[in-house]
């Protein structure tokens, strides 16, 4: 029996995914073969990877040098606690999403199912390889493979022009980010030529270069994660992709960017400066507020979820900024608290966002409608999807006792202890930052009520919805897996915090699980300062609800009868009289009006067929992207002068180059 270390097991899992993907090429047009055998096999590999990662969290780091790569720079792979945590996230989410995808992907959606299967599993494998890469070359190869395979997945339904456009924008910004990351690695190796991460770790960079590396990393990984102002690709690419792909992108791919940022700042640079934390905090909070405000005014359910992803990534980056701030001032315990909150939120977001995207996928399958203006009342026709989506929305809104609340609670606890900082201005700005986090959390509740209420509750806004069917067995299994994860992560936070302890101990020197008061409570610093017990909370709440129900039934009666709805006595209620998605977003549009660029047209009184249109656009598109695009256009216009079209001109260019070279080599 060969002694296998965790890194070998992890690499084998990635290889298994690639193999499964290649099997998809065997029967390219059959959706059934891929759906019944390959995707469930991929899900099993995901579970195995998650188990491997869970073991590897508590072991010392293991390394492996692969015989691939450049002659003097073979692929180095390393599995330490941080990589193991993100691999656990990848495996857990991929299991649920793959099971769902088995029942979801059909044959007539543009690309052939075999190709989609190949790209999908290649995507999963490349994400796993990004997480274990230990040198710059392997990292970039895996990163680019991830970008390319996701591009092909996003444009899998390439028959529609706007999907192709969304894919183009996505790959463009992904490459801008990749260039920035490459430059960052260049800054990190500081002229030694040693591109392995081990070499970068032992190098002590001068402060100026360290800052350059940090800024490049923030820009590069931020472009992939979707923070302001490099976020414009997210609301286009996520709705364009098929729902399992959107789920994976939003849940796992954005987290690989966060992993990259953490790896570079905490591990490779090693000694974060405090004001980097202020930058990250500011950028993160701006993205969070921006994302949730825009999510509130969307009328397409997948765009709404995409903007909500921007918000959550903003919160994660803000938490990371807080970690850097504390670490920079040498406050180790508080840095550990902030890092735990950040990592916990990564895990939570992965599960509840993928759950919600998969639920929208089921709705899309059943109704072929993405627009919120034509959905409604689906809780009656699709109960499984609706109840799983309810768990997802309660989790994402950060409500107790599910998992979203725990990470928010930990983050707010980290903010509560900040007035002990030595710097005056930062001390005053941090309560303002806590207020921004609270506002974001409250707004996400608003957005989720809009999402769930308009899609699943109320009356159907279209007659075709009467034919909607519930999700199939594979889809149900995937949804239930992810919902169960949301519930479990919310009810046993001490186990998750224990799991995160090796990571925080490695990067901040402290862990926060040591001060907990038994397995029932979570008390991050001291029990008198704050404590929370989700199990007790849920138990008492359930007991009270049941007691109330039983008492009412016992003392009074349980009679009910059905009748038309009351609505203050108005008998002719129809579906158009309930709120639309636009209407539900109107308060946010009015209150946060300077954030939008609102364009609209209203009908005149003399119109025989009045039409009303209002769009709320992203200002960054008009301030930043369009001017840059116009500038690039103008510059390329200048260069196009060289392209005359005549063969003799091109031959003259080659001739001139030859003459110049001969002249210089002489």
């Amino acid at each position: 029996m060969i002694e296998m270390s965790s890194i070998d097991a992890g690499l084998l899992a990635a290889g298994a995914w690639i193999a499964i993907g290649c099997c998809g090429l065997a029967a390219p047009r059959s959706a059934g073969f891929a759906g019944r055998f390959l995707y469930p096999a991929g899900a099993a590999v995901g579970v195995a990877l998650a188990a491997i990662a869970l073991f590897a969290l508590f072991e010392p780091p293991s390394t492996r040098v692969l015989p691939l790569g450049l002659p003097d720079l073979p692929f180095h792979a390393r599995l330490d606690a941080l990589s193991a945590f993100f691999l656990l996230l990848l495996g857990g989410v991929a299991a649920g999403v793959s099971v769902f995808a088995g029942g979801y992907l059909r044959a007539d959606q543009g690309s052939s199912p075999g190709l989609v299967c190949l790209c999908y599993h290649l995507f999963l494998a490349s994400m796993a390889l990004v997480l274990v890469a230990d040198d710059a070359y392997f990292f970039m190869v895996a990163w680019e493979t991830m970008a390319l395979s996701s591009f092909f997945l996003v444009t899998s339904d390439h028959r529609h022009a706007e999907i192709r456009r969304a894919g183009y924008l996505y790959i463009l910004i992904a490459h801008i980010g990749a260039i920035s990351i490459l430059l960052c690695f260049g800054a990190l190796q500081a002229g030694t030529g040693n591109y392995t991460f081990d070499g970068m770790r032992t190098l002590q960079l001068p402060a100026g270069w360290a800052t350059v590396a940090f800024v490049l990393a923030l820009a590069g990984f931020g472009a992939k994660a979707g923070i302001l102002p490099l976020h414009v690709w997210l609301p286009e690419a996520h709705p364009a992709a098929p729902s399992p792909v959107s789920a994976l992108m939003s849940a796992v791919m954005l987290k690989t960017a966060i992993y990259g940022l953490m790896r570079v700042t905490l591990d490779l640079i090693g000694f974060p400066v405090w004001w980097w934390g202020v930058i990250a905090l500011a950028v993160g909070l701006a993205s969070a507020l921006f994302g949730i405000i825009f999510a509130a005014v969307q009328t397409d359910m997948k765009r709404l979820l995409a903007y909500s992803s921007i918000e959550n990534i903003g919160l994660i980056v803000a938490g990371f900024g807080l970690t850097l701030l504390f670490r920079g001032f040498g406050m180790g315990t508080l840095a550990a608290l902030a890092l735990t909150a950040t990592l916990y939120h990564c895990l939570n977001h992965a599960f509840f966002k993928s759950l919600l995207f998969l639920a929208t996928g089921s709705v899309l399958h059943a109704t072929s409608e993405r627009s919120l203006g034509r959905l409604g009342g689906l809780i009656h026709r699709m109960p499984w999807v609706a109840w799983c989506a309810l768990i997802g929305t309660v989790a994402i809104a950060g409500l107790p006792p599910l998992n979203g609340f725990v990470s928010e609670w930990l983050l707010l606890q980290a903010f509560l202890f900040t007035p002990d900082l030595p710097q005056g201005y930062v001390n005053l700005l941090v309560p303002v930052a806590a207020a921004a986090v609270a506002l974001t959390a409250a707004l996400s509740g608003y957005v989720m009520v809009k999402f769930f209420g308009i899609v699943f509750l109320g009356q159907p806004r279209d007659e075709a919805l009467a034919q909607a069917h519930d999700a199939g067995p594979w889809e149900r299994a995937g949804l239930v897996w992810l919902s169960a994860a949301c519930i479990v992560l919310g009810l046993i936070p001490h186990a998750v915090i224990n799991m995160l302890e090796p990571i925080t101990r490695q990067f901040t020197g402290y862990g926060i699980s040591g001060e907990m008061r038994g397995w029932l409570f979570v008390a991050p610093i001291e029990p008198e300062r704050a404590s929370y017990s989700p199990l007790l909370f849920l138990a008492v709440a359930t007991a009270l609800i049941l007691a109330a129900w039983l008492a009412v039934r016992a003392f009074y009666h349980g009679r009910a009868r059905r009748a038309p709805s009351w609505d203050c006595g108005f008998p002719w209620q129809n579906a158009r009289m309930q709120d639309t998605a636009d209407g539900f977003g109107q308060p946010v549009k009015v209150v946060f009006q300077p954030a939008f660029r609102i364009e609209g047209e209203a009908p005149s009184p003399r119109d025989s067929r009045p039409q009303y249109r209002e769009t709320a656009d992203d200002r960054f598109w008009f301030w930043l992207y369009l001017p840059v695009a116009r500038l690039v256009d103008r510059l390329t216009g200048l260069v196009t002068v060289l392209q005359r079209g005549r063969i003799s001109i091109y031959l003259m260019y080659s001739f001139a180059t030859l003459l110049v070279l001969l002249f210089f080599v002489r």
Partner: protein, 220 residues
């Protein structure tokens, strides 16, 4: 007991002063604005009287009495008469909307606190941290003057600025010399008289007290 709770009460009065400055910033009605200004005067009177009791400087009692007479009774009465004679509308129009104004107000408060921090290290009194609050209320009143378009709130803003300076002097350095104080009071009185005449002239010319009409006096 007075020595123990006195500085705490002064801190509380400082906080109430800042609260009133914020309330004036977010007020929409002119009548409430004048009442808030009178309340600020009352807070000043209490603070001055308390400082006088704490430090046993009897001239501060005179100062407190003057404040009560002028800022709580006389000036609000004059302002009430003014708005009744000018027949102004009750709603105040702002140049930028109220939530944005309050956000800018918070930024100003943070700035003022940080600016005052090194100075308050040097002052010798126990209540030196109120210097930041007093500076913040001066800045907030200035902001109020900038963001209002009608003349009467701008006058009230000017008077509230003087309130803030007076509080800074009283709380941080335990009172100005009587001469300085009488001089400042006279300046404020003269300024109010001039502003009053000014208001009537604006009213005569433009039939409204909206100061944006003054832009019509430009050359072209």
């Amino acid at each position: 007991m007075l020595q123990h709770y006195g500085p705490q009460v002064i801190n509380l009065l400082a906080a109430i002063l800042l609260l009133l400055a914020f309330a004036m910033l977010s007020q929409r009605r002119i009548l409430s604005l004048i009442n808030l200004f009178a309340a600020q005067g009352l807070v000043l009177f209490l603070a001055t009287a308390l400082v006088a009791a704490l430090t046993a400087q009897s001239h501060l009692y005179w100062s407190a009495g003057l404040t009560l007479l002028l800022k709580v009774l006389l000036l609000p009465w004059i302002l009430h008469r003014l708005i009744r004679r000018l027949n102004v509308k009750w709603d105040v129009e702002t140049l930028i909307n109220i939530p944005t104004t309050m956000l800018i107000g918070i930024v100003l408060v943070i700035l003022a606190f940080n600016l005052a921090a090194p100075i308050s290290q040097l002052a010798g009194t126990v209540t030196r941290s109120t210097l930041g609050i007093a500076m913040a209320s001066v800045l907030l009143s200035f902001l109020m003057m900038i963001t209002r378009s009608k003349a009467v709130p701008q006058v009230v803003g000017f008077l509230a600025m003087e309130n803030g300076l007076f509080f800074a002097a009283t709380a941080a350095v335990y009172g100005m010399p009587m001469v300085v104080e009488l001089g400042v009071a006279l300046d404020v009185l003269v300024a109010s008289l001039i502003l009053g005449v000014f208001l009537f002239q604006i009213r005569e010319r433009f039939d409204s007290v909206d100061t944006r009409h003054l832009e019509k006096l430009k050359e072209h």
